[in-house]
């Protein structure tokens, strides 16, 4: 009976993630007036998908344990449900103006991670549940704290000092785990400083580039960033080093809009990789294991080979939750959790999971685009880049598209520090999205430059005017209908407020500067 249920459940899982992703993209189209779609209903649909996912998977876990000790499973599933669904409802209550699409994505990923972890290692899943709860609490509290903080773009020296202090501590006291020397033990708790450095790093770069940087002003941040990256390389934490480097490039590109820097950066990393390949034997080993894992399948290629077996043996629909052999992959609960998901939920579901990440990046881009403040825009771009390259490196590594660099899959993999930091980053992104309202009477970012670009600004404003006309039409339409949420209302109101801001730019600037 259980077998039959598991087989059918895998199709339900695919359906849930398909609806979730569909709703996510439709909400984005609706926001741009490209499709008629009820945003509030779409978000509710996503929440229902998360709850159903949790319930469907819980039934499998419980019925598998029915013959022996059923209590801990039931407890785990119920607490998991409360954390997932309850946490999500709390975000609605506390932050009605936040991006609930982003919250939904995070809670969905978290729940997938929890259920898969429980099936892989019950003890780790328990710990993960605690980390998640901690992270969610941070995510709920942090925006409130950030709201009352002073101008965060004024502390770049503190950020970079903190980053180097953490790096130094790791270099001196670091313990190595899984090849990389990036752990510090504080009492019984292992702590990964590189995760926290991420936050400082992005804050630092965003404050550096808060004024449009000239080539000269790029030098100091570039040198210091290079130092951070090299320190990470020295700890053999290549995955983090790459993520930091790419985030730096993305932020420089966003700040300057200069393709040349971006391409030079890509060229530099290519040269550096080739040099590293020649210089360091452990990098050569990894690249060789990636090029042909089958040559040395019992040793160097073992991990990646087991991952590929897990992904491919059962075809694109997977074998069914709890029926796979995912424990045959070393460190499956951290780096290789994506392979376990492919094996049991199927490759189609895994593709859906990748699209959930794309939805997160879409929210990140939207948060950055709607912002009128350079610092916050850059912050949002930087955080999105962190997630994007982290997810890309580990998923690409697990499916053997690129050489493997051991990093966690955000929200899904087991890992204390990385989980909590990921929630902190989401909290900061949500704060930025909510602050878009508060900052909207600031100078628009196109106007930051001097008069040289004045003409350009006027041209840029033209489509905005038409957008505001459209919005006005919407307002008229909306009076007949019920408005989905306060967020939507705010969206509609903004253009008119923005007009006032433009007409009295000097006035508002003076007000802000006090």
């Amino acid at each position: 009976m259980t077998d039959v249920y598991i087989i059918f459940a895998k199709y339900f899982f695919m359906l849930y993630i398909a609806i979730f992703v569909f709703n996510g993209f439709m909400i984005n189209l609706a926001r741009q007036d490209m499709a008629g779609f009820n945003v509030a209903a779409g978000l509710s649909g996503q929440r229902i998908c998360i709850a159903l996912f949790h319930i469907t998977a819980s039934v499998i876990l419980i019925s598998n344990a029915i013959e022996y000790d059923i209590q801990p499973v039931v407890l785990f599933c119920i607490i998991g449900f409360i954390v997932t669904v309850g946490g999500n409802m709390l975000t609605m209550a506390i932050y009605p103006d936040g991006s609930h699409l982003l919250y939904n994505c995070v809670f969905f990923l978290m729940d997938i991670g929890l259920m898969v972890l429980y099936r892989l290692d019950t003890a780790l899943a328990g710990k993960q549940l605690i980390w998640n709860t901690l992270g969610i609490l941070m995510m709920l509290v942090l925006p409130k704290i950030l709201e009352v903080t002073p101008r965060l773009d004024k502390f770049k020296k503190i950020y970079i000092t903190a980053a180097f202090v953490l790096l130094g501590t790791t270099l001196i006291f670091g313990k190595s785990e899984g090849g990389a020397r990036n752990w510090i033990n504080i009492g019984p708790i292992g702590f990964q400083p590189s995760e926290l450095i991420k936050v400082f790093f992005v804050f630092y770069l965003a404050s550096c580039f808060a004024e449009k940087p000239t080539l000269k002003k790029l030098i100091v941040p570039a040198v210091l960033s290079a130092a951070v990256v090299l320190c990470l390389v020295a700890q053999t934490d290549l995955g983090s080093a790459l993520i930091f480097y790419m985030t730096f490039l993305i932020m420089v590109f966003t700040a300057t809009g200069n393709y040349l820097y971006f391409l030079l950066g890509i060229a530099a990393i290519c040269l550096a990789s080739m040099a590293a390949y020649g210089l360091f034997p452990h990098i050569r080993t990894r690249v060789e294991a990636w090029q042909n894992p089958w040559l040395d399948v019992h040793d160097k290629g073992y991990q990646i080979a087991q991952s590929l077996f897990a992904i491919c043996t059962w075809g694109i629909t997977g074998i069914g939750f709890t029926r796979g052999y995912a424990n045959s992959i070393p460190v499956v609960e951290r780096d290789f959790i994506f392979a376990a998901i492919c094996e049991e939920f199927g490759v189609i579901f895994a593709a859906g999971l990748i699209l959930v990440f794309v939805l997160i990046f879409l929210e990140g881009a939207r948060g950055a685009l709607e912002n009128r403040n350079r610092f916050l825009t850059l912050l949002c771009t930087g955080f999105t880049a962190l997630f994007a390259f982290q997810a890309f490196l580990i998923i690409g590594g697990v499916i053997k598209m690129i050489p493997l660099t051991g990093v966690t899959l955000p929200f899904v993999s087991y890992g204390g520090t990385s989980i909590v930091i990921s929630y902190i980053i989401i909290a900061a992104m949500q704060w930025i999205i909510m602050r878009n309202e508060a900052y909207s009477h600031d100078k628009p970012i196109e106007e930051v430059d001097t008069r040289k670009r004045h003409a350009q600004t006027r041209r840029a404003a033209a489509p905005e005017r038409s957008a505001s006309r459209k919005a006005e039409q919407n307002t008229r339409k909306n009076t007949a209908e019920q408005r989905p949420s306060r967020r939507e209302k705010a969206n509609v109101q903004r253009p008119s407020r923005h007009k006032t801001a433009q007409s009295s730019a000097a006035d508002s600037r003076g007000r802000r500067r006090k």
């Binding site: 077996f309 491919c312 825009t377």
Partner: protein, 483 residues
């Protein structure tokens, strides 16, 4: 800045769509090349309460099937077990043969949701069945021919690599492997669990002259003439022809037909080690043959600095060269197939419980081991062996009704039967374990080859003793089976 943010989002979107594309490609197209790797633990698993797929011969006759016992469990039952034991294998004691290598297909459930649902209402949940390329009629003849001796017979379709018949003796009963396990393993003299056809390695004897002759043809050294006195001194030892028979004046054709050792020894010294090594390498010695079952690589260990004695002995099939009966069948098939060696296979396709065909094996080329011209000349040499050499009794006739299907390569004889031109080569392999091993490899009809056979009889004396088995199998195939 805004346009930069948009561009970056598009970059992410493209990167992650590439991830999805790569993932789907990996799973749908690339997976076939590595999923069957022995390090994949998933292939060995099987689930209780599921009916393992059946195994059929090429005609659809059942070789192995699961039978439901009274206690609700399944028992694996094998028919004609002795003839199929080594190929089909067994499911106990870690599994072997097709049962082991195709375990995944035999236990995989097609239309799993439907089957599982039907299972709730008491229907059997059944894995996919396999249809082999082996033909029961040929297996029977081979089994009878090998009865009471140690040896192996392999028959292949030269143009595809399809194995039509593969029997190894002494054999065992797949039905009682569990019961007789200790006994089967302790019999080190007969080693009944060893599949002699694929895992047995033997000195090739004079059948290796095919390789030496190919080397001579490719190196334009076929015009050598030589007077055989029955013995010749090379280096520090004397080489004899079989029974020290003096063959007299020999050219390539007659030396091949009469299997003159001294001629081929001299030819070997003329060619030299390097050319022989080059030919052996291109023939695929020391290489994987891509068979899905357990097999041993045929080896050709001679090196370029070998002394004259090793070259001479290697040239007529002694020395340190070792071949499996299957590999000799592959070489013979390649001669028949214009020099193209095909990858051998025993599983033709799978069948879902509903009867639809899945995973049909497509013939795959291994390599062009010699030029078509060389193959053509070798074929003439091998015909001469049967027409006027050591394998005269390999000739046979088929009934006149088959004349249509076998239009070419057959000449009408007196009554209602048609003589088929056979091409072959005998071999008598000296070995350290007693009497000589008897070898015979052949294919027919010479002009349009449909079947190639390799027969090895351990310690059975001269090569011609292996001829009747090969002849009967070729005759049965051409008379009754081939269409």
């Amino acid at each position: 800045m805004r346009s930069a943010i948009r561009k970056i989002f598009w970059l992410y979107l493209i990167l992650f769509l590439i991830l999805i594309g790569y993932l789907l490609k990996l799973c749908l197209y690339d997976s076939h090349s590595f999923v069957a790797n022995p390090y994949n633990k998933r292939l060995a698993g099987s689930e209780e309460g599921i009916k393992r797929g059946s195994i059929y011969d090429a005609n659809g006759d059942v070789i192995a099937e699961d039978v439901l016992r009274e206690d609700g469990t399944y028992e694996r039952v094998y028919n004609n077990a002795e003839n199929y034991a080594h190929t089909v294998g067994y499911t106990v004691k870690g599994k072997a043969g097709v049962e082991s290598k195709y375990n995944f297909r035999l236990t995989a459930l097609s239309f799993e949701p439907v089957q599982r649902l039907a299972g709730l209402f008491g229907n059997e949940i059944e894995g996919n069945s396999l249809v082999l390329t082996l033909d029961d009629r040929l297996q029977k003849i081979a089994g009878e021919q090998l009865r009471g001796q140690r040896g192996a017979i392999v028959a292949m379709e030269p143009s595809t690599g399809k194995i039509l018949c593969m029997v190894s003796t002494p054999s065992f009963d797949s039905n009682s492997v569990d019961k007789n396990w200790d006994e089967l393993n302790s019999d080190t003299e007969d080693s009944p669990l060893l599949n002699r056809a694929t895992q047995g390695l033997y000195p090739p004897g004079s059948t290796f002259k095919i390789v030496t002759a190919a080397s001579a043809i490719e190196n334009n050294a076929t015009d050598m003439e030589y007077k055989c006195t029955g013995a010749e001194k090379f280096g520090h030892s004397i080489i004899h022809c079989y029974n020290e028979q003096a063959h007299g004046n020999m050219d390539m054709t007659s030396a091949f037909a009469q299997s003159c050792n001294t001629y081929f020894g001299t030819l070997g010294t003329k060619l030299g080690a390097e050319k022989l090594i080059a030919t052996a390498n291109s023939f695929g010695f020391n290489r994987d043959i891509g068979l899905a079952l357990e097999y041993s690589k045929s080896t050709f260990p001679m090196e370029a600095n070998a002394d004259v004695n090793e070259i001479v002995e290697t040239a007529f099939g002694q020395g340190r060269t070792l071949v499996s009966p299957l590999f000799m069948a592959m070489i013979t098939s390649a001669v028949a197939n214009n020099g193209m060696m095909m990858q051998p296979y025993v599983v033709d396709h799978s069948l879902t419980p509903g009867g639809s065909v899945r995973n049909r094996t497509l013939p795959a080329k291994l390599s062009q081991i010699m030029s078509p011209d060389t193959a053509y000349k070798l074929k003439d040499l091998m015909c001469e062996v049967v027409n006027d050499g050591t394998a005269k009794n390999a000739a046979f006739s088929v009934s006149k009704e088959r004349i249509e299907t076998l239009a070419s390569g057959a000449s009408v004889t007196a009554s209602d039967s048609v003589k088929v031109q056979v091409a072959g080569k005998t071999g008598t392999a000296e070995n350290p374990h007693g009497d000589d091993h008897a070898w015979f490899v052949a294919f027919a009809p010479a002009d349009d080859p449909q079947i190639a056979v390799s027969v090895l009889l351990e310690n059975a004396g001269k090569g011609s003793n292996a001829i009747p088995a090969a002849r009967d199998i070729m005759k049965e195939y051409l008379e009754n089976i081939y269409q």
